[in-house]
Symmetry: none
Subunit: 401 residues, 2 copies
């Protein structure tokens, strides 16, 4: 597998355009009654045509058998080895709400949750409270100072918020306070490296103060923190791939992830049609577009097979406005599978198609997990996608003499 | 490829059960008259059904083009990169006869062989003498002391024995005395690292003494030693994969290999049916079972195409008692190919199937080299098997946020 240092030497800037359409959680499992996956169930004439004109395969975003979180799944799609480069959840959340992190800040993802009188978490999401309620609660906590550290608390969406610890000498090797399931007490945050002892102390003091502040706010009477992280230092897509990349994503975390690798995040409406309108508006200004569709993953997580299939059909209809722009390279794939049957991310490889004028079409006639398994790309790692995209956009010089 | 350190963080213990059935040397080459391999010739309705319900592929256990020895082949199947982790033959043989190695011991595999009056080896196996004859000869050599080093000589099976060198300051970087084919003299053992000079000296003195002791015992008048090795320090399957693993193998070396990665070796009869009875007896006590079938490899090594196909049919019939236990994950594959046409291990990839309730079946309809080549796993490295097994047994958490 070629490394970023090696590919950097052969990338070149050209006017050709690449569109990477990520249908989050697209891969599925067969419905017990029909034997067809969500994608195989949906009527997708546009995707089928792209598959027929293009090359297909099945992608392991991290490694075979591994269920990717959203961050490693996307980093891999962007060309960054997710086993080598990591981005903490807290940083992603902060970036996703346009929070301007400063060097040394530690960010964490927070949930408002419900705790019973014995200290047991009974609902990690406090009934998915409204974003306005979340904003109100954040105002109660924002600006708390623990010792000489400033606490900045900002709402994200529903029960979720970001807390940023700003002060001297903080290190981010910290365990989570979130037990990750209901019926357990919160965990004490412990330092996972000696340098993080001070940060752990500050975080635990903040949690105690938050608990006191929220005591009368049942069912949002406690906070759970996880994913403590400082801003990572990843090579930028503009440097490595010599692209001018833009991201179109309705959900904060995916915007945050795009920013980490140096994409410009475009303001957009949240429907699929609106996202594709955003693409059309900005089409002349960039040469790489990452478009993120969230609905498929949410439907999969909810176990709603039919809704997931329906959203895939919506994407297919909207595709017409994408293909009418005639990008040099169109890629359609996913960051991971989210089968409705499993109600969560899974390890199953994701279907992949790439269409360009120079792709040497294979024998695949439709876009489905089954059809992609006989594509000319075979089963391959996601870190190969960017080199394939750049090659098909004729943005790569020869390697070696 | 995810490393053991990384997968360790996401493995979790659950009650689900994994059975890894290794049909040693399963992969073959087409018979010149029929164009069908041993597996394609055998009638295998049970294997075909598992392939149809499961996912298939072709596995390179070490790397494409590389003919694996039994140790790297099995280490890879157990999830250990065989290019990184090595286990010397001598250690495997010693473990396989339940020899309790001490730290610093060097173990080697020995053959009793036949040497002519010119010092040429005429039969490396001395006509595959009986195990009782081997035991008798070992008694002649056991307990010899060379300088201050104790020599412990134990019979294995037929012409094979283990010799253990026990003393201070021995290092195991030693060449073999076994020329690996008939018609050659034995080789002097030379140190392959400066620290091993003393061990080489001791070993050569032992060989000279053994030759003198066996002079009147034609056709077992010489010894061949190979695979000098000290006990390796591999991470255990219980730690890395959080499994409680058990091994069912009739042959010593495979039991030894299982012990090296921390499997408990179950006492078993040696027929396929007896091995599967052992599985049923212990089914409740473990969550991972490695079952080793030796006959296919032996038949392949003997160049006996029909016998190999016959043993595959035996395995297929016996499979019913395995599937009736309804393991969460069944894997059937091999450590390497042993085509009867080549009378030895070969580099050809081995057919692979994995069946679970969550595997997203592909289009493969039968278990054969040809059919597996169009499976959704494509052609892949054996080190991916354990992650796939664990994922399908739902023993892996999400990787990253």
């Amino acid at each position: 597998m070629i490394g970023l240092d090696q590919i950097k030497d052969i990338t070149r800037s050209t006017p050709s355009k690449i569109v990477l359409l990520v249908i989050d959680g697209l891969g599925g499992l067969p419905h017990p009654e029909t034997g067809k996956t969500e994608l195989e169930t949906a009527n997708t004439p546009n995707l089928d045509r792209l598959a027929k004109e293009g090359i297909c395969g099945l992608v392991d975003t991290v490694s075979p058998g591994i269920t990717p979180g959203s961050a490693p799944g996307h980093l891999a799609l962007f060309g960054y080895d997710p086993l080598k480069f990591t981005v903490g959840r807290g940083v992603l959340e902060a970036l996703g709400i346009d929070f301007e992190l400063q060097e040394g800040d530690i960010a964490a993802r927070g949930n408002f949750c419900t705790m019973d009188k014995n200290g047991i978490i009974t609902d990690r999401r406090a009934g998915r409270i409204s974003t306005s309620k979340c904003t109100e609660l954040c105002q109660l906590l924002d600006g708390i100072k623990v010792d000489d550290v400033d606490l900045l608390v900002s709402p994200v969406r529903e029960h979720r918020f970001v807390v940023v610890f700003r002060g001297e000498g903080l290190e981010d090797e910290l365990s989570d306070s979130d037990p990750q399931r209901d019926g357990m007490p919160t965990k004490e945050v412990v330092p996972l490296a000696t340098g993080a002892a001070r940060a752990a102390h500050i975080v635990n003091k903040f949690i105690a103060q938050a608990k006191a502040t929220l005591a009368d706010h049942y069912p949002t009477n406690m906070v759970l923190l996880r994913g403590f992280a400082q801003y990572p230092n990843l090579p930028l897509m503009s440097e490595v791939f010599k692209l001018k990349p833009a991201a179109i994503a309705a959900y904060p975390m995916y915007r945050g992830l795009a920013k980490v690798v140096g994409m410009e995040v475009l303001a957009t409406g949240s429907t699929i049609q609106e996202e594709l309108e955003t693409l059309a508006q900005h089409y002349d200004s960039y040469d790489f577009f990452f478009i993120h569709i969230k609905g498929t993953d949410s439907a999969g997580e909810d176990g709603d097979f039919d809704r997931k299939a329906g959203i895939i059909e919506e994407v297919d209809i909207a595709l017409a406005s994408l293909t009418s722009l005639n990008p040099d390279v169109i890629i359609v794939t996913a960051d991971h599978s989210t089968p409705a049957l499993l109600k969560g991310h899974s390890w199953h490889p994701v279907p992949f198609l790439l269409r360009s004028n120079w792709c040497r079409p294979d024998q695949v006639q439709e876009f489905s997990e089954k059809a992609c398994s006989s594509g000319s790309l075979g089963r391959f790692l996601a870190t190969n996608i960017m080199p394939l995209a750049l090659a098909n956009a004729q943005k790569l010089s020869k390697f070696g003499a």
